[in-house]
């Protein structure tokens, strides 16, 4: 027993071989060391190591947002974006890779050039591609704008060609409404399409949208995306679209008619605007010269603007509507009041004459307007008084921007009341000494057409949100210019301008349109001669404003020609009015304009 006990007693104490104890200690120490390291890695360095790993692995990709589409009032697209790819190659790398597999780099490059030229078609030349591939550059651009499908086809055959996302802005109408739309182009630095001029620039923030971000995991050293590892951090927000008040067909027709007329009479410039009589929406806004936004490189920089809103001019006799409206409104005169109008009038230091030499005539007030007698209008203005005249100028919106929604809009210029000289009041009523844009000019007549309520014109009808909801731009508040009766009276007076009765002819008989009552006003304004600082006798602005039809107005047309070899824009108005009547199926006026007496013997 004791032997066993002794054995038993000695076994635990010294019976175990020393190496076993040592082994046990070593293992325990190893375990402790591993445990400590585990704690250190998991506890202390965990965040840093995870971050490093994530860094190696994650790639942030930008999800491009597509730019909004601009359409006309009928939904016809005027500007839209299309996705494209740009193809790049790295010639040196291709050479190195080919040499690594002991293939002929040049043969490979030739095969590449041939295949790319085959896929992309005629404009791309195989020789040019080959010379690019053979060049010593690090990276070469093979093709700037390629449809994504073709880019994929090429990349399937040649994975070493990289494709970069691009967006092209297309303008299907070409020059149609280009002055209004402006142009947007691809910016390589921002990797986005941005507006350059016009509405594309003015409303860029709305149209551009916001790019999204996508985080993917890629294998170290390659671009291969690990499937299932995509996380979209932020979805792209596409740009909102814009619906304009323009009517493409009318815009095209007006632009063409205006361009033809301006070219025929060698005008230095021309602008025209068509407004809806009641809502003042801009149905058409055209200039004689325009550009093709699809081909920006070929456009002359001076043509990129929009003179219809940015180039003011002196209106001439179309401004006589201000005096007429104020005189009727304030009861100074009635349409039938007979005025004794001399052939010339001396005011302060200037003598004002009419366009035709005459002695003292007995003109009705209607006749003064229809014949466009400067002297008659000045006599009326003197009876009206400066204050009431200035008040009407302001109400008509002159000297103030219309805020139509286009960039570069000019407010025109009206000399402030306290700076008037003696002859200012001899100039303003007949439309010299102040300036306005064709939009402001049309706006005056829109007030007369809309029973005295002037609505500031607008060009953007609605915003279309990315999800398709349409948000109409709020209607601007109207400005009460004259009472409805006054507006109707003035409109009726202006019908006489197109009257074509022997001995009682107005200045714009060519503007008459069979079946419709037309109210209109012609204008001729002397341009300033910079050499002498005085008014030129050979350079004129020819202006015109018309309301169709006068009895139930639908449209207002304003036209300006810069120094044409013709004295009137009435035939142009006739053509535009005829087109309007047909396009919008305007019902004929119930009766022709009554004949009024302009001159009494």
């Amino acid at each position: 027993m004791s032997r066993r006990r002794r054995r038993r007693l000695s076994l635990p104490a010294a019976g175990l071989p020393r190496r076993l104890v040592l082994g046990r200690v070593v293992l325990v120490l190893a375990l402790v060391a591993a445990g400590l390291k585990l704690l250190a890695v998991q506890g202390l360095q965990a965040a840093e190591l995870s971050a490093q790993a994530a860094n190696q692995r994650t790639t942030v990709q930008t999800l491009p947002a597509q730019r909004g589409t601009i359409t006309d009032r009928n939904g016809t697209p005027l500007a839209f974006s299309v996705a494209a790819e740009a193809l790049y190659a790295q010639p040196k790398r291709i050479t190195a890779e080919q040499r690594a597999v002991r293939a002929d780099p040049d043969a490979h490059k030739q095969a590449m050039a041939r295949r790319i030229a085959q896929v992309l078609g005629p404009p791309v030349s195989e020789q040019e591609l080959l010379s690019k591939l053979r060049s010593a550059d690090t990276t070469v651009l093979l093709a700037p704008l390629v449809t994504p499908a073709k880019a994929r086809t090429i990349q399937r055959d040649f994975p070493e060609i990289s494709a970069e996302h691009r967006e092209i802005r297309q303008y299907p109408g070409g020059e149609l409404a280009a002055n209004v739309l402006g142009v947007a182009n691809w910016r390589a630095d921002e990797r986005k399409v941005r507006g350059l001029v016009g509405l594309e620039n003015y409303a860029d923030a709305l149209l551009a949208g916001r790019d999204g971000r996508r985080v993917v995991d890629t294998a170290e050293g390659s671009d291969a995306v690990i499937p299932g590892s995509e996380r979209v951090e932020r979805s792209p927000v596409p740009g909102s679209g814009l619906e304009l008040t323009l009517d493409s067909d009318l815009q095209f027709t007006v632009a063409q008619m205006l361009g033809d007329y301006a070219r025929k009479y060698h005008a230095k410039g021309a602008s025209a605007v068509v407004l809806d009589a009641h809502t003042a929406e801009v149905y058409a806004m055209a200039n004689d010269v325009t550009f093709d936004p699809n081909n920006l490189a070929a456009a002359r920089p001076e043509l990129l603007g929009n003179p219809a809103v940015s180039a003011p001019f002196e209106p001439g006799s179309v401004n006589k509507v201000v005096t007429a409206a104020a005189a009727i409104e304030n009861g100074v005169l009635t349409p039938d009041t007979v005025l004794h109008v001399p052939g010339e009038l001396r005011i302060a230091d200037t003598t004002v004459r009419d366009a035709w030499r005459h002695g003292t005539l007995n003109l009705t007030f209607t006749g003064v307007l229809a014949r466009s007698s400067n002297v008659g209008v000045l006599l009326t203005a003197q009876r009206l008084g400066k204050d009431r005249f200035v008040d009407m100028l302001t109400r008509m919106g002159l000297g103030q921007r219309t805020n139509v929604g286009l960039p570069g809009e000019s407010a025109g210029r009206v000399p402030p009341r306290d700076r008037w000289s003696g002859s200012t009041f001899a100039n303003l009523p007949i439309g010299q000494g102040l300036s306005m844009t064709v939009l402001q000019m049309a706006g005056m007549y829109q007030a007369i057409a809309n029973d005295g309520l002037r609505i500031p014109p607008r060009i953007v009808s609605a915003e279309i949100a990315p999800d398709g909801t349409r948000r109409a731009t709020p209607r601007p508040a109207g400005v009460r210019v004259v009472s409805p009766q006054t507006a109707r009276t003035v409109r009726n007076m202006l019908r006489a301008v197109v009257q074509n009765v022997p001995g009682q002819r107005g200045t714009a008989t060519e503007a008459a349109l069979d079946g419709y009552q037309i109210a209109a006003k012609t204008g001729t304004a002397q341009q300033v001669n910079p050499a002498c600082g005085c008014y030129s006798n050979s350079n004129y602005w020819i202006t015109f404003a018309g309301i169709l039809p006068a009895d139930a107005p639908r449209f207002v047309v304003g036209i300006m020609l810069d120094n044409p070899a013709v004295g009137s824009a009435a035939p142009l108005f006739h053509d535009i009015a005829s087109y309007l009547a047909g396009r919008y199926q305007i019902p004929l006026s119930p009766a022709p304009s009554p004949v009024v007496t302009l001159t009494f013997p």
């Binding site: 066993r4 038993r8 076994l11 635990p12 175990l16 076993l20 016809t76 697209p77 839209f80 299309v82 449809t147 994504p148 499908a149 299907p172 109408g173 070409g174 020059e175 149609l176 499937p227 299932g228 493409s248 095209f252 027709t253 063409q256 361009g259 033809d260 070219r263 060698h266 010269v289 001439g316 200037t350 003598t351 004002v352 004459r353 009419d354 366009a355 400067n374 002297v375 010299q432 200045t507 069979d514 079946g515 012609t522 204008g523 001729t524 002397q526 005085c534 006798n537 050979s538 004129y540 020819i542 120094n563 070899a565 004295g567 009137s568 006739h574 053509d575 005829s578 047909g582 004929l588």
Partner: protein, 200 residues
């Protein structure tokens, strides 16, 4: 563990027992002796001890064999559970990966269709713009109509002609290049109808 175990019964507090001769088994396999061919002396020693420790002694004798037999199903259950977990994890992750490939394929199809649709609508948009229609109409030999005469149909059925019907004439083709402003001929007579009065 290859080190010799000394603690034989952690649960039953038989601290003194292992020191006794019969139960001090160096290899720790207690069950070699338990319940298998004991010598009478050994059996008597067991019985005496059983009496001393009371009912509890019956347990330990049965104990050594029961935990092992009772643990078998438990171990099996755990193994089965682990197996199931492993298989299901593998299956789920394979399914997710497979789904992501399906998703890629579906996305590709959707993208191709969207591109085609975009191409087509772009073509249509270009073809139906006013300038394009005008050009094609011109090519067909059509001319802009000009100002038409209009017909009014009265309620009693009579038709009234308003205006003068005229044959449409083809407009003169625009000049190839816009004439420079300097080429404008100086007007020989003042523009008709509306020159304002002169200034002195």
């Amino acid at each position: 563990m290859t080190a010799p175990t000394r603690t034989v019964t952690p649960m039953r507090g038989r601290t003194a027992a292992p020191m006794r001769g019969s139960t001090a088994v160096p290899t720790g396999r207690r069950d070699t002796r338990a319940g298998r061919g004991r010598s009478p002396a050994v059996a008597r020693a067991y019985a005496r001890r059983a009496q001393r420790t009371g009912a509890r002694s019956a347990g330990p004798e049965v104990g050594p064999e029961n935990p092992d037999a009772g643990r078998m199903p438990f171990v099996l259950v755990v193994m089965v559970l682990l197996g199931v977990a492993l298989v299901s994890t593998l299956w789920l992750s394979t399914a997710a990966a497979a789904d992501s490939y399906h998703l890629q394929g579906a996305r590709k199809v959707a993208r191709n269709l969207a591109e085609r649709s975009e191409n087509l609508s772009r073509e249509v948009a270009t073809l139906e713009t006013a300038p394009e229609l005008a050009r094609r109409a011109r090519e067909l030999g059509m001319v802009p109509a000009g100002n038409p005469a209009r017909l009014i149909v009265r309620p009693d059925g009579t038709v009234v002609l308003v205006g003068h019907p005229r044959r449409a004439t083809a407009p003169a083709p625009p000049p190839a290049a816009a004439p420079a402003p300097a080429a404008r001929p100086a007007p020989s007579a003042p523009p008709r109808a509306a020159a304002p009065g002169g200034r002195t």
